[in-house]
């Protein structure tokens, strides 16, 4: 390892000793490796010359997908890339899956079209009997070439498209994009606006976490928990509509602030929040009081801290395996600067731990929403701050429902020259495969749903 480390850019190793790998991408003048440090996002720039770049993922698996994407999408030549296959389908064809072979080992291929309302992905299991020997998760079926399409766009009119990179974490990504642009413009955002944005981001977390718990009940075979959770998801979506006029928060958070007319009826909002909080509390009680359900969750799909560290996993899956980073707490932004985050901490790393983290975070989210409403009172929300965006680069990171949502944006002469989004789902998919390799094929739906990742924001 030390011999390999010696050949890697020293700066990356130095940053990783102090920080957590976020991701990497190709910019016009070289590669950027991003590390979440204690004082902000640290960026290591690796120039692109005639020589192939050293593959950092040979030492740090967290960057494996990023480097495959750089090689495949942006033509970066790497020396000794551990997995040199294309990350995504090319011309409609995926590269062969990695499979295990040996006596009694069989192959099960699932997808890209699934039996349900599920985004497309191909999962190739190698199994010996029921035991999973290997799982290769291949995504990219939702790859829309968005980052290329975004180049040349006006940064403000691009916002609705950034909001629709993924429908499940739209508020979080819109917030990350807004912060990146506001940083470039050097704009100050009023406290009331920051409170409104925190409120929307926490409502998005509530909608996602209740659904995640519902599907963890379903995947463990407990239909009443699923139906109850689906009802709560619907209530959360209606709450979103009351808060911002859209059930999925699209276009509610905009560069410079929030769209006009959001949080107009705060009395109705407060009533709905209180009603939903009571229903969620009862939901959590029946879930965690169900001994057979909890038993099914216990020990299934466990990941150690060293594993989530190697893969750079953040979010609930990080905090379920002994990780202590929550971006709201580690690098507070917006109203999180004065409303502190109670970080959920679990250590067993299994389905149960991921569910317990989400349960704790649901309670924290309701506390945030109520405190934001209290502090907002009846104060008016000012119109978005005008942003002067001529030139500059910025990387921002927020805590989305599934973990760190990172946006890097470069602007020249008033247009976006490069936008790269590192989704928590993108970062976490390899961890789903690893957790699945701990168990049996029939456990896959449960292990998978305990992460409940998106495909659209991973594929872009």
């Amino acid at each position: 390892m030390s011999a390999l480390a010696a050949t890697l850019p020293h700066a990356i190793c130095a940053e990783l000793e102090r920080g957590w790998p976020l991701g990497a991408y190709a910019a016009h003048d070289g590669l950027r490796y991003l590390v979440l440090g204690s004082d902000g996002v640290r960026m290591v720039h690796v120039p692109r010359g005639d020589e192939p770049c050293r593959a950092v993922s040979a030492l740090v698996p967290a960057f494996a997908w990023d480097e495959r994407e750089m090689a495949d999408e942006w033509g970066v030549a790497f020396d000794a890339l551990p997995d040199p296959r294309a990350l995504w389908a090319r011309g409609g064809a995926l590269p062969d899956a990695i499979v295990a072979s040996g006596p009694g080992v069989t192959r099960i291929v699932v997808g890209p079209v699934h039996a349900g309302i599920i985004e497309p992905g191909r999962f190739t299991f190698s199994s010996g009997g029921e035991t999973v020997v290997h799982l290769d998760a291949q995504l990219g079926f939702s790859h829309r070439g968005l980052e290329r399409a975004f180049a040349g766009a006006d940064p403000l009119t691009l916002a609705p498209r950034v909001a629709r990179i993924c429908g499940a974490c739209s508020a979080s990504r819109s917030l990350a994009y807004a912060i990146a642009l506001e940083t470039i413009a050097g704009a100050q955002i009023p406290d009331e606006v920051e409170l409104a944005r925190l409120l929307l981001a926490e409502l998005e977390r509530i909608a996602n976490h209740v659904f995640d718990l519902a599907v963890c009940a379903s995947a463990a075979g407990w239909a009443p928990g699923f139906t109850t959770g689906l009802g709560l998801k619907e209530a959360a979506m209606r709450l979103a509509a009351t808060a911002c006029g859209h059930r999925l928060f699209f276009d509610a958070i905009v560069p410079g602030g929030v769209r006009a007319e959001i949080l107009a009826d705060r009395t109705a909002l407060r009533v709905q929040v209180d009603a939903l909080a009571a229903r969620v509390e009862e939901f959590l009680r029946v879930l965690f009081d169900n001994a057979s359900l909890v038993s099914r969750w216990t020990g299934t799909g466990a990941l150690s801290f060293d594993e989530v560290r190697a893969l750079g996993v953040l979010g609930p899956a990080h905090r379920a395996s002994g990780g202590t980073i929550d971006v709201r707490d580690a690098l507070p932004y917006g109203a999180y600067r004065w409303l502190p985050t109670d970080v959920a901490l679990e250590t067993t790393g299994d389905v149960g731990a991921r569910c317990r983290v989400k349960a704790a975070e649901l309670r924290t989210s309701f506390t945030f929403v109520r405190r934001a409403l209290d502090q907002l009172g009846a104060s008016a929300l000012p119109a978005p701050t005008p942003l002067a965006l001529r030139c500059g680069t910025s990387t921002s990171v927020v805590e989305g429902p599934r973990g760190a949502e990172t946006i890097s944006v470069a602007i020249e002469d008033g247009v976006v020259t490069r936008l790269h989004a590192i989704a928590a789902s993108y970062r976490t998919w390899p961890a789903v495969a690893l957790a699945t390799m701990r168990g049996i094929v029939p456990d896959f739906p449960l292990v998978n749903k305990s992460f409940n990742l998106c495909y659209a924001c991973a594929d872009r």
Binding site: G116, R144, F211, M237
Partner: protein
Amino acid sequence: MGRFARSLGIRHLVCGSCNGCEQEMNALFGPDVDITQHGWELVASPRHADVVTVTGPMTEAMREPARRTLEAVPEPSVVVAVGDCALGTGVFAGSPDVGAGAGVELGAAVAVPGCPPAPEAIVAGLRRAAEVLDRR
């Protein structure tokens, strides 16, 4: 009442959607909307489907799997385009790497606009699909 007695087997096909339409499709099966009360169900194979709901602008990687899925659906069948992207009018329309819209490319007979459409609009679209099926 026609041949289908308005009961439908539904297969859902995601062709580059952002997952927003999928959240509204999921809402159809929650206790508030619950389309199973109409005798409608989500089926586990295209061989069991009468209706295929499609979302997204269509990606290069999904074009062939989508074609093969529709090929597996027995006739008569009907394709329902759910959402603006499937209708070719979403925010990504005209983007170099996406198609004309999943519904446009796959010959949808029923259009449900919206970004995303509300569950009630999707239910209305499925009702129209049942009427189309009765005539096919």
